[in-house]
Structures are given as C-alpha cells and as structure tokens.
C-alpha cells in the first residue's frame, strides 16, 4: 500500500516529507545515538536472554528465519558456497546491539569471525558466558561499546549487522552513518526493524505486548519505527544502497516465522556500501 502511494510522488517530495525525520528533529538530541531509557529497559530483562520461553521468546522464534535471510544474502553478496556448512568463513562481522549473543553465536558457527557489541554491560557478560560454553562460539569478541565508539577506534568489518536495534536508537540517521563507517567498501550492511504501519501497531505493540505478553509492555514505541522507504532513504544518504529486502510473516498455527514479500510489519534489508562513497559527511 505504502509503496503504491509513494510511487505517485517524486523523490523530491518524499525527501520533503521525511526531512524532519532525516534531520533528527523527531528525536532527542543526544551525542550518542542511544536512548538512556531504552538501555535501562533491556538491562532489566537481560538475564533472560537465553531462556527460550522468556521475554526474548519471539526473538528466538524469529532467529532461524533472520539467519536464513542473512545466510543466503551474504552468500550471494560475497559469492560464498551456500551448500557449505561454514559458508561465512573468512568474513569479519560485527553484530551491533548483540544482546545476549542470539545472532552472534549462529554467525560464528557459520564460520564468521564475529564481534558483538552492546551498550548494556550486563548483556555482554551474559553473551560472554553463554558463548564460552561452546568452542565454536568461544572465539567471539564481545565488547560493551557502541557503534559510534567502534567508528572512533577505526574498526572495519566485511558485514555489519544491526537487527531489531534501529527502532531503539535516538538518531537513526547518525546510527546508519556509523554503520556505514564500520563497513568496508563493497561490504554489506544488514538492518531489520518494524514498519511504522497500522498493522505493525496492531501486531507488534497491541498483540505482542498487551494481548500475548510476548514482549514486556513498552518494549517498542510506534513513533520510533521506520518505514522501509525511510530506511532505504537514510541508508542511501549514509552511502549504502539497499539491494535486497524481505518481510517476516508469522504463522500463528505452526508458531513459526517465514520470509515473505510482505514488509508491512517486520522486515529486513541488506545494503552494499558503494566503493567510492567514503561517508564522513
């Protein structure tokens, strides 16, 4: 629906509509792209990260589907063999907002050299403990830091993951710029989030937080969601071209998530950093 509507207006008018958002006026003016109250929210439930029946249950349920997308998209982008058991071997990947390491661990098992960063110290401790249980994941480097600080340190990665995190940052534009700065030229950036649509409000907030109690109340704020168009635009401004995008669909009967072309609620995008745009505007 949103796509059809936007198809009629030209690019300039979209930018005009989005201007307040892109300039960060909608968000609190903090130097870091993170919101303090968001950090407190996650610190409170961090010790339940690996409880597959706990507050992060939906994330656990969604994880295989996210990984299916990431695996196949990265294999295509980096021309890796998808039939190999460790197709991501040789790739340096950073997982921004790694939480308890739910995404970092599978990426490491797929062969990648993973760095997991999270602003909540408790998350990092839990991630370290849990990853240490398996030799395949004990090599993951976990740091309590932010994307901005990694940029300052001059770190570079072949692929940057920022899953279900952009809706929790204060300034998405700045955040995307940091992600771009962390990505090597020709590298990949993967972002997933929730659409700012009425359906997303009904499912991700009303149903998931208030009816099904999947997520603690107040986990998400509808106003900080981004639509796919907005995400594509701000990524483009940061020097990243979105090449692949897919939606996630939940089957309540089977209790499983599937990839689909319906991006009206949850969606994931893979972008490539163009070789010549070194983005430090």
């Amino acid at each position: 629906m949103a796509c059809k509507h936007l198809g009629k207006v030209n690019d300039k008018s979209i930018e005009r509509i989005l201007h307040p958002l892109l300039s960060g006026r909608f968000f609190s003016k903090q130097p870091s792209s993170l919101k303090d109250n968001e950090l407190a929210k996650f610190a409170a439930i961090s010790d339940t990260w690996w409880d597959s029946e706990g507050p992060f249950k939906p994330l656990h349920a969604m994880n295989p589907t996210r990984l299916a997308f990431i695996r196949s998209a990265l294999c295509r982008h980096f021309r890796k063999d998808p039939y190999s058991a460790k197709p991501l071997e040789g790739l340096k990947i950073v997982d921004v907002g790694c939480g308890g390491g739910i995404l970092s661990e599978p990426l490491a098992r797929l062969g990648a050299t993973v760095t997991g960063v999270d602003a909540v110290e408790k998350n990092i401790k839990i991630a370290q403990l849990h990853a240490g249980l398996d030799p395949a994941t004990s090599t993951i480097e976990f740091c309590c830091t932010t994307a901005e600080k990694l940029v300052e340190e001059g770190r570079k990665f072949d692929a940057v993951m920022a899953l279900e995190i952009i809706e929790h940052v204060a300034d998405p534009m700045e955040f995307c710029k940091s992600l771009a700065a962390l990505t090597v030229p020709d590298g990949a950036t993967v972002i997933s989030t929730i659409n700012r649509s009425m359906r997303a409000y009904a499912t991700a907030i009303v149903a998931a937080e208030y009816i099904l109690n999947w997520l603690p109340k107040g986990t998400h704020q509808w106003s900080s969601f981004l639509t796919p168009e907005e995400l594509v635009l701000i990524l483009q401004r940061a020097g990243i071209n979105v090449e692949e995008m897919a939606g996630f669909e939940y089957d309540p009967v089977k209790g499983r998530w599937y990839l689909s072309d319906d991006i009206s609620v949850n969606f994931i995008a893979l972008g490539t950093k163009s070789r010549n745009t070194e983005c430090d505007t």
Partner: protein
C-alpha cells in the same frame, strides 16, 4: 529513490532466497505432495454419484471409516518382530547395564565433588563430539547413515556407544545358512530413505525378499482381502530382510563413507547435561570458568572413560538407559500375549505375505527368499511356552493347521450379493479385486530355533530435552508384531537427521531445545497415530463375538473391493501417508 524499485528488490530477494533449497522450509509453508496419491481423484468420483445412490454411499462412508481403521491394522500387523528383534543387541546391552547400574551411578554421584580437582586436569583429554549415539542398533546406525549422506552433516564428529561386537568387525553373512528368524519388513518409504543414504544397495547384495502380494483373512471364513502392489502402481509392497543384513548394510554404508565415527565398545553408565540456561550459568560462573564446565553433555562410560557431546541421541531400545537417566517417564502396558518367531521351509517358493486372524491372535507367514519363510505367531504366554517345547513335527502340524483349515473354513471367493453391491465402487477397480483366495504354501521343515517374545506398548512422554533426544524404540515401543516398529524408528532417524542439517545450515547449536522440539512435534503425532492403530488392532483381534465377527468380515470385503479405500490402506502401511484417511 523509486518505490517500484523497492518492490522489485523485495521480489528478487524472496525469489533468490527460495531458489536456495536448503533452508527452504523457512520460506515457504507449502505442503509436500505425496507421489502416487491418486486417492483424491477417486473419492471425487464417489461424491458425484447420482442421488438415488446417495443413501447407500452415506452408509458406506460410515462403514469406510470403520473398515479403513480396521484394515489399516490388519495390513500393518503382517510385518515382523522388528522392534524387539531389531534392537535386540542393544537391548541386551541395556539390560546388563541396568543390572549393575546402581553402583556406577552412585559412585559417580559420590565421587564427583571429590574428584573435582582431578576433573579439571582430565578435562583437556576428554574427547569432544558433536553427536553421541547411544545404541548402535538398526535405528542408531540408520541415523549415522543419514547424517553421513547429507552435505551439511557429513563433517560432524560422531561417537557411537554400543557394546555389541558386531559394530567392530564387518559380519560375514553366509548365504548358505538358513535365514535368521529375527527379520524386519521394510516399507517402501523406509526403503527410499535408505536408498537416498546409499545403504539399500548393501541390503540388496545379501538375502532379502521383496513381496508384491499380501493376503489377509480370518478364521470365521467370512471374508478375505488381497493386496497387490500394482494397485498403487508400485513394484512391491515391502521387503523382508534379516535384521543382521540390515544392520550390516547400515554399518558398511557408514564405514564406506568418509564420515568420522568413533565406536565405543562399552556402555553408558551416567550422563550429566550442562544446562546453559542462564540461571545455572550465573550460579556457576563465579566459581569456575565456563570452559571448565565442558561443552554440552558429559557421558560417563562403563569402561571408566568419558566423552562430551553437544547432542546425545538415545537409540538404545525399549529399555532405554538414556531415557531412564533423563528421568523421562513412559506410558504403556504389556499385552498378555507372546509372539513365537521362527524360520520355516516350504517345498516351493513363497513370494506372498500371508496373515490370518485366529481366535488366539494373528499368525503371519512372510517370504524370506527361496523356499524359506518366516513365521510370527501371537498367542497367550501359556500356549507359546507349550508350542516352544513341543517337537518339530507337532509344531509344523500346528502351523499348517493355523494357516489352512484350522479354526474355521476358507473364505469363499464371492459372497453372494456383497460383490454386486460393492460393484458400485468398481468404476476404477483395482487389479487384485479379481484375484481369488489362495491357500498359503505348506510348511515342511523348521529351519531355525523357535524364539518367544512378550508383547508390550510403551511411549515416552517426551522425545527431547536439552541436549538429549530419543529415537526409535527408546521413544516408542509398538506392538512388536507390527513390523512398523523399525520403520517408525527409521522415520525418526531420518527426520532427526533433517532437523540437525537444518540447524547446522542456520548455525544453531544442535543440542538446542527449540530445534529438538521440532523433531518431537513432527514425530510424536505420526508415532502416536500408528501406536493407537496397532493397539486398537490388538484389541479388535482378541474379540470373538458373533456380530463383531460379521463386522470384521464386512471390513475385509470392503477393503478388498473398494478401490480408493484399498489404495489408502496400502499407502498408509507403506509409510507414505501420514493418516489413514482420504486426503
């Protein structure tokens, strides 16, 4: 930035992702269509019958449900003592473990705190495996075989724990010797799994017997049913092979692949599973480093060594020690029935599977290549003990009596009226409808000892917990006569290998409960269905009551003459349909 471009990007992505076959399950929820399911077309025909006949159809539909269920049972029972006999070796192993289990287990509990200091030193040398299969019987070896044949799982490091010496050296099977009485009927579905894994060719090198005709009848002489593989456009209905042939085939298949397996010729004595749920991690974290806890489950073996495994597979039979150690409860009951199994010889070749229902229980005669056949005969424990001890001549006389003229007359090929009434359903008649009742070949010689097994039913409440999963008889013991036991086990092993492969594709920890629950969810439904049917069969069989006998006879007729029903029964028993209904 154009919105149309966005849509294009999404479309491309989804189609790209779908093009990659391995993780496909995550992307499409399309159901897989079973090949050869012609049932649907035929039932459409019946539903478009003229109004005048609709009443009859309704009454037959009611009968269908009954006959369907009942005949599924009758077909299934013709199999063999696979579950018990198939895992016989592992079961024996577990029994002996159970006998002296108290000591090692107590030792372990008592010694652990004291040996703590030592353990950390030993830890470095404790081998680490991806999967430990406890029990290298038919089902355990089938799992190893399936894992060896898939690209995602073939690099796994697997330990097989079984004290059966057959695992160590390749058994030489002499074709001259008469067949072993412990045989299994392998369904076409299981055969295709084994073919895909590359194990079936080893079975075909040894003695095996495909059969394409099956005849089922009962002692009242009121009805019979003949099934022909051509009814479902197949070459065969199943294949009978000795358990040692099957086991050897699986073993050769694993050995000939470059799959890394280590065989531990010992028994499991105890097991500790490190739960990595965070509450435990937090408690232990302050005391010791995570690496000192070891990785995954720690298995202590009866020879004093221990190993670590990310996933422990309990394939150790009906008296599973793994199940016991995990505290998984079972439900079930013993039938007050025993089965006698033995190999017999005829004067001519037998290529058909025979099953007759007697007031005391069913007797089955299965082809075993050449002039040999296999007998499975269910009866009360007292009778079975008697029949085990009588002379060969007396026993053979009993068998021939039971298979031919004993207990009641032969069924007539056409009950007047029944056939005309049922001709309504013959629009697409199956080939075997026109086949007449035949008398099974006479048994002339006993070619093996007589073995007696008690029958029971057992089902584990749970198949999966953190790092531990049960397959085959460890998860479910069906009525051992059914021959479905080993086939359900092969199904478990096949599905588990698929789930593990899927987990590896997506970088999941293979011992993770969410992954293993997927296996449980899939297999529990299928197994409970089959168990209920077999149990229901057992009960239906033991009823000798006039009107019920007539109903049973009607069921035979229905199953013989109603083509869609017949196909449905054959497909279900072949392991191709999940439910014995018209789908």
């Amino acid at each position: 930035m154009n919105a149309c471009f966005l849509t294009l990007v999404i479309k491309k992505t989804v189609s790209n992702v779908c093009a990659l076959k391995i993780p496909r399950k995550y992307f499409c929820n399309e159901s897989v269509k079973v090949a050869g399911s012609t049932v649907g077309d035929v039932s459409n025909e019946t539903s478009t019958l003229p109004d005048s006949e609709s009443l009859l159809v309704v009454s037959f539909q009611a009968l269908d449900r009954l006959t369907e269920l009942y005949m599924s049972l009758t077909f299934l029972i013709i199999g063999h003592l696979s579950s018990q006999a198939g895992l016989n070796n592992t079961e024996l192993a577990t029994i002996s473990v159970a006998n002296h289990k108290e000591t090692p287990m107590l030792d372990n509990l008592l010694l652990l705190p004291q040996e703590h200091g030592k353990n950390q030193v030993i830890n470095k040398t404790i081998p680490q495996y991806d999967i430990a299969i406890v029990g290298g019987g038919l089902v355990g070896m089938a799992l190893a075989c399936f894992l060896a044949s898939m690209p995602m799982t073939k690099q796994l490091n697997v330990a097989i724990i079984d004290s059966n010496p057959a695992l160590g050296s390749s058994l030489h099977i002499k074709k001259k010797n008469p067949p072993d009485p412990r045989v299994s009927t392998v369904t076409p579905a299981s055969i295709s799994f084994l073919q895909d894994a590359g194990a079936w060719k080893y079975v075909e090198q040894n003695r095996h017997a495909y059969f394409n005709i099956m005849q089922v009848w009962d002692y009242t002489g009121l009805g019979y049913a003949r099934y022909n593989a051509r009814d479902v456009n197949k070459d065969f209905l199943g294949c009978v092979a000795e358990n040692k042939v099957l086991h050897n085939a699986l073993l050769s298949c694993v050995k000939d692949s470059d799959f890394k397996t280590t065989i531990y010729p010992t028994k499991l004595s105890s097991m500790t599973v490190n739960s990595s749920s965070l509450s435990t991690v937090k408690e232990t974290a302050s005391k010791e480093l995570p690496s000192a806890q070891g990785h995954g489950a720690k298995l202590q073996l009866s020879d004093g060594s221990s190993i670590y495994a990310k996933l422990v597979v309990g394939a150790d039979g009906g008296k599973s020690h793994v199940r016991e150690l995990m505290g998984i409860k079972t439900i079930g009951w013993n039938y007050s029935q025993n089965a006698i199994i033995c190999t017999v010889e005829h004067t001519s070749e037998n290529a058909c599977a025979w099953q007759r229902f007697l007031p005391t229980g069913p007797i089955a005669l299965l082809p075993m290549s050449g002039k040999f056949s296999n007998i499975v005969w269910t009866m009360s424990p007292a009778e079975s003990n008697n029949r085990k001890s009588i002379t060969e001549e007396e026993f053979l006389e009993d068998v021939n009596y039971a298979l031919d003229y004993g207990y009641g007359p032969h069924p007539s090929s056409s009950l007047s009226g029944t056939r005309d009434m049922l001709s309504l359903f013959k629009m697409d008649a199956t080939i075997s409808t026109s086949e007449f009742f035949e008398i099974p070949p006479k048994v002339t010689r006993l070619a093996s000892e007589r073995m007696v097994f008690p029958l029971s039913l057992r089902h584990a409440n749970s198949y999966a917990s953190k790092r531990v999963v049960l397959i085959g008889d460890a998860a479910h013991t069906v009525h051992p006569l059914a021959g479905q036991g080993v086939n359900l086990g092969f199904g478990d092993a096949y599905y588990l290998s698929r789930i593990i492969s899927e987990g590896i594709t997506l970088g999941t920890d293979i011992g993770e409960i969410n992954l293993l629950k997927k296996y449980e969810k899939e297999r529990k439904a299928a197994n409970i269905m089959m168990m209920a049917i077999l149990d229901g069969f057992q009960k239906a069989c033991s009823i000798d009551f006039g009107p019920f006998n007539l109903l049973r006879a009607a069921a035979f007729h229905g199953a013989n003459y109603i083509s869609p029903l017949k196909r449905s029964i054959i497909s279900y028993a072949s392991g191709e349909h999940k439910l014995p209904i018209f789908l």
